[in-house]
Amino acid sequence: MEKLRYALYTGCTARESTPELLKSTMAVAEKLGIELVLLDEASCCGASHLQDYDDFLSLVLNARNICYAEKLGLTMVTICNTCQLNTAMTKHRLDTNPELKAKVNAKLSEVGLEYKGTSEVTHFLYAIIQDYGLENLSKKVNVPLSQFNIAPFYGCHNIRPSELQNLSNGGENPYNPTSLDDLIIACGGNNVDYDAKNKCCGFHAELQAPHTAAVLTGNALSGAMDANADWMVTPCPLCHLKLDVQHHNASKAIGREVKLPVLHMPQMVGLALGCTPAELGLQHHVTKVNFV
């Protein structure tokens, strides 16, 4: 197989409150022989909140980020659902609206950049599944996760709106997504099914609507627990922050003690590939990872 190369858009979270995500992403890429070129020039995607304040500004900034992947001639991979949504949304809007693209490029030209639309944007999860291939991954698994029941938590922004995700994230159906389940199986684990796996964790309203956000987190954790999960796995660091750090607020909101270790997608893959807990930054979790 030809060596896979991507431009990695880390987003902010992987460089701040979830350092273990960046660490494990790099560790897994190395094990699989995937080259990830860090886009250090990139700025924050706005997380769909800057978009509420100043939509045009958010388009310009996200287009600038994509420009740097285009310069390298590489597909951009993201490791955060919300980065994926906002970057892919920007790309989609510019690629389908020449007038808007020209307006954005007029601004970008002030700093010597031009958005062309030549780089694809996809989440690392889908790059692994579609480009690397699950069969190839299975062959590299040397510590199968067969003793674990693992609950996939997809996170909204990787699967909805499907109109957008069909272009970037492999087009799985948001009402019955399978990518994370397939990945769990490829790592030798047992995927568990529960209603909240494709629902929202509430992260984006945590400050404005803390009760709503906490109930949603509680539903996710309790659903996974009731399905007998030993731990959860998610491709999104924002879901991770909610599920890993906020379980006490979630417990209060739903009137039941809920708590489960939650792994980032690459941490799970890394475990199956034989990475050490330290290589995957497992010590950074608030809900302690007690099974390795």
Partner: protein, 325 residues
């Protein structure tokens, strides 16, 4: 002529009669369905061939009246539009048929939609305009101005988005995606004189747009591609543009991103929470913050990472900003 394909499907059908039943129950039917059939055909067959007491709503049979919306395995659909073979592609051959909201069921698939209409009433769902009673000319809207509605006027008020919204399910004061889309539809109409009043309604805490969790369920659920969350984002923008954004945790949370990006390119997570909540409000986050700090999840201000080529980011922030707070 194409060959008619058929397949066996197991339908679990929600049954409940508010007047006689204490709890709902499900009836199971195993039916051969053809590739031409939609869910409404199946409901008709069950009613006509198996159980005449089954109740559901349908009228136009053309995806226009919006009355036949129900849920299949949790996915909101129009019964008259959803092809069973498309649903088999997604779910396989086991399908549970539920009303849009089991909590609001009156009889079988028929629900009480009063809450849906109440939310609409809240946002003044009609054009407020001083139109001359005996005009000498037509009151024309140019195609360019009509496009500003972003097809929000395609809504058929089926309720699919409304009863798929998790924020609404938890917080019943929340106005919800359908009524927000309607608020946008009129607020964006060049003939309307009540835009600002409407924006005030959707700007209120608990009921307004700020409580949306951005799950995109409404965009996914809508059978008419109204894309309510897109309209909700527009309402946020209009609130800032109209200068009526209040200085509160929700607005500061949006504006705080711009401050961070201007300084670091990246988001300063800790500072965002402090700025949004204020110096006192931020204290309630201390227990989490302490746990995070203990585990190496808090970056100290002096270690805050910065994007490379910050001069570009700064310049673009200057030249491309379109609103002020």
């Amino acid at each position: 002529m194409d060959e008619i394909k058929s397949q066996q499907v197991t339908f679990k059908l929600f049954r409940f009669n508010q007047e006689t039943d204490y709890l709902p129950y499900y009836n199971t039917y195993v039916l051969d369905v053809t590739h031409e059939e939609v869910i409404l055909d199946v409901l008709n067959r069950i009613k006509w061939d198996h159980d005449g007491t089954l109740s559901y709503r349908r009228s136009c049979r053309h995806g226009i009246c919006g009355i036949c919306s129900i849920k299949i395995n949790g996915k909101a659909i129009l019964a008259c539009k959803a092809r069973i073979f498309d649903l088999i592609d997604v779910f396989g051959t086991d399908m549970t048929i539920d009303p849009l909201s089991t909590k609001r069921a009156i009889k079988d698939l028929i629900i009480d939609k009063e809450d849906f209409w109440d939310k609409h009433a809240q946002i003044t769902p009609f054009l407020v305009s001083d139109v001359e009673e005996n005009p000498s000319l037509e009151n024309l809207v140019s195609p360019h101005d009509a496009e500003k509605l972003l097809e929000a006027d395609y809504c058929i008020q089926c309720g699919a988005c409304h009863y798929s919204c998790p924020a609404l399910e938890i917080n019943d004061r929340f106005i919800g995606p359908a009524a927000f889309a309607a608020a946008f539809r009129f607020a964006a109409d060049v003939r309307d004189d009540a835009s600002v009043e409407r924006l005030h309604v959707v700007n209120e805490e608990a009921q307004g747009v700020w409580d949306c969790v951005k799950c995109m369920e409404c965009a996914e659920a809508c059978p008419k591609d109204v894309n309510p969350i897109e309209k909700i984002t527009k309402l946020h923008n209009m609130i800032f543009e109209a200068g009526i954004a209040k200085n509160n945790v929700a607005t500061r949370h949006a504006v705080g991103f711009a401050h961070s990006i201007e300084k670091h390119g990246l988001l300063d997570e800790g500072e965002l929470v402090r700025y949004s909540e204020g110096n006192i409000g931020v204290l309630k986050h201390m227990p989490e913050a302490f746990e995070m700090w203990k585990n190496g999840k808090i970056v100290m201000p002096w270690n805050m990472p910065k994007s490379k080529n910050m001069d570009e980011v700064k310049k673009l922030m200057q030249s491309s900003s379109t609103v002020k707070f």
